[in-house]
């Protein structure tokens, strides 16, 4: 199974039309990867679908970087009893 980081990068690449290999943990979704507000909503939706989790919108949308997203999603998965590869 792919790790959370790999899956977050894959979803991000798919939504923002980027190459997953070029996405770094310290990248900001907006400043570095060019996500517009509408795409932020799409990212949250697609992360929920990818990991079969429910995220609080306000908390999810306050996440700035890819690394923070990995941490946040890992935490939500644990809380919601979803097994993931860290």
């Amino acid at each position: 199974m792919a790790t959370v980081e790999e899956r977050v990068k894959a979803v991000t690449a798919n939504v923002l039309k980027l190459n997953a290999d070029e996405i770094k943990l310290e990248d900001s979704f907006t400043a570095d990867l060019g996500a517009e507000s509408v795409q932020s909503i799409e990212l949250v939706a697609m992360f929920e679908e990818e990991f079969s989790i429910e995220m609080d919108e306000d908390a999810a949308l306050s996440v700035q970087t890819v690394g923070e997203a990995v941490e946040f999603i890992t935490d939500v998965c644990k809380k919601q009893g979803v097994d993931v590869e860290e």
Binding site: I41, E42, E48, E49, E57, D58, L61
Partner: protein, 426 residues
């Protein structure tokens, strides 16, 4: 005699969604005011008591100076309980008389006249139990009083209501300021311009086919044309609007573009061009520039509307536009299909195509699908900002009420979100 307005039949309430999500049924507007105002004018009670769904009790209590959901208010006086959807002009039940419960053909309580002594014997924990007990213990009579059954009934009868209420009000003349040239068509007896109103130059008031009532401190900007029957509420502004017949607007709305046979609750904006026809718009709504709705299908067949996102209801009319819930905002260029339902607290971003006919409450409609968007917290922030701008307060009680609406409307919203996700995943 104490008038008791009760709103405790969920199925009835649901027929007035999304407008009834944030208010009791008697606060719905038609003609020159609310359903409650008309019932009070007809019945002339000494006092009023309100019974609303629990989730909105605190918010409503802050809006009125009469008891809300207070069972102790049901003793000490003769009572007249009235189902708020009864058409006031048809309510001819004598307020004096022995106790009796008026039921329609489905055995729903239409009214209940209960003497002080009988009321004392009906001690109950809540209004539903009180009504059930009254039905069981007091004489029942079958009655056929006309009622408002759906929101579109209000839209379709609005012009007639304005005409009737204008006659009842018995006012006409120009007490506000008219800056010439202002053209008045029809009889000046069919126009009332209240004190504090400012009618700018180059305005046409056309009362040939119905009366025009412009309430206090409203302002009519140049190149507006107002066709009667029409009611413009206190403090509202018309910005070069083509205000066609049959509109009730206000209070404190900003209206531009073309509006026809529509009812708009207070503090809503349709500032710019775009057509709104045969529609019902809640409070604190903002319709972005060029938002336009269809109110007539190309084949002239009856318009149907979904109030639950699943079951289409034939309105029986070829002309019905949109139902738009409180606090909903549309972006520029939004196109609304005939018979559209936009829930409360929804955010709509146009796609260039007509929207789906049903958008749930608290939905963020973005890129052609219903999403969770930025969540309800962001919607509340926007509501607070909008209200602050008009010197109104977003209160914890309001937030608690909308939280309850958020939960109530979750099933249809989640279903729409899931459908949208499937589109995204593809």
């Amino acid at each position: 005699m104490r008038l008791v307005l009760f709103d405790c039949f969920p199925e009835l309430r649901s027929r007035f969604f999304p407008l009834s999500l944030g208010r009791p049924l008697w606060e719905l507007r038609i003609g020159m005011g609310s359903l409650a105002g008309k019932l009070v004018a007809k019945i002339h009670p000494d006092n009023i008591v309100y019974f609303v769904p629990d989730y909105m009790a605190d918010a409503y209590r802050a809006q009125v100076d009469k008891p809300v959901n207070d069972m102790s208010a049901l003793v000490g006086d003769d009572l007249m309980l009235v189902n708020p959807v009864v058409k006031a002009e048809s309510f001819k039940v004598p307020v004096q008389g022995t106790s009796e419960i008026g039921l329609d053909e489905h055995r729903t309580v239409v009214y209940a006249r209960i003497s002080k002594s009988d009321a004392k014997r009906l001690s109950s924990d809540d209004i539903e139990a009180f009504i059930d007990l009254a039905k069981a213990k007091l004489p029942n009579v079958t009655c056929k009083l006309p009622t408002w059954n759906y929101t579109w009934d209000l839209i379709l009868a609005n012009g007639e209501q304005i005409t009737a209420e204008f006659a009842d009000a018995g006012r006409n003349g120009f007490e506000g300021t008219l800056e010439e040239p202002v053209a008045v068509r029809g009889s000046r007896k069919d126009v009332y311009v209240a004190p504090g109103v400012k009618v700018h130059p180059m305005v046409t008031i056309d009362a040939e086919h119905g009366p025009v009532y412009i309430d206090e401190r409203a302002e009519i900007h140049p190149f507006s044309r107002i066709e009667g029957p029409c009611y413009i509420g206190t403090g509202s502004i018309l910005l070069g609007a083509k205000c066609r017949e049959g509109n009730s607007i206000g209070p404190y709305c900003r209206i531009g573009g073309e509006v026809e046979e529509s009812i708009i609750h207070g503090y809503s904006n349709k500032y710019h061009d775009g057509f709104l026809g045969h529609s019902y718009v809640g409070e604190w709504v903002n319709l972005g520039a060029l938002t336009t709705n269809s109110d007539l299908k190309n084949d002239y067949s009856n318009v149907s509307i979904m109030l639950d996102g699943q079951h289409a209801i034939d309105t029986g009319s070829a002309k019905v536009g949109s139902l738009i819930g409180d606090h909903t905002k549309t972006s520029i260029g939004t196109l609304l299909n005939t018979g559209s339902y936009l829930g409360a607290m929804a955010i709509i971003m146009a796609t260039g195509k007509p929207l789906p006919k049903y958008i749930p409450s608290f939905a963020w409609f973005i890129e052609g699908i219903v999403t969770k968007g930025f969540g309800k917290g962001r919607l509340y922030e926007t509501a607070k900002t909008a209200m602050d701008r008009r010197k109104c307060e977003w209160t914890p009680a309001m937030e608690a009420m909308w939280d309850a609406v958020f939960e109530m409307t979750a099933p249809e919203r989640n279903k729409a979100i899931k459908k949208g996700r499937m589109t995204l995943v593809k």
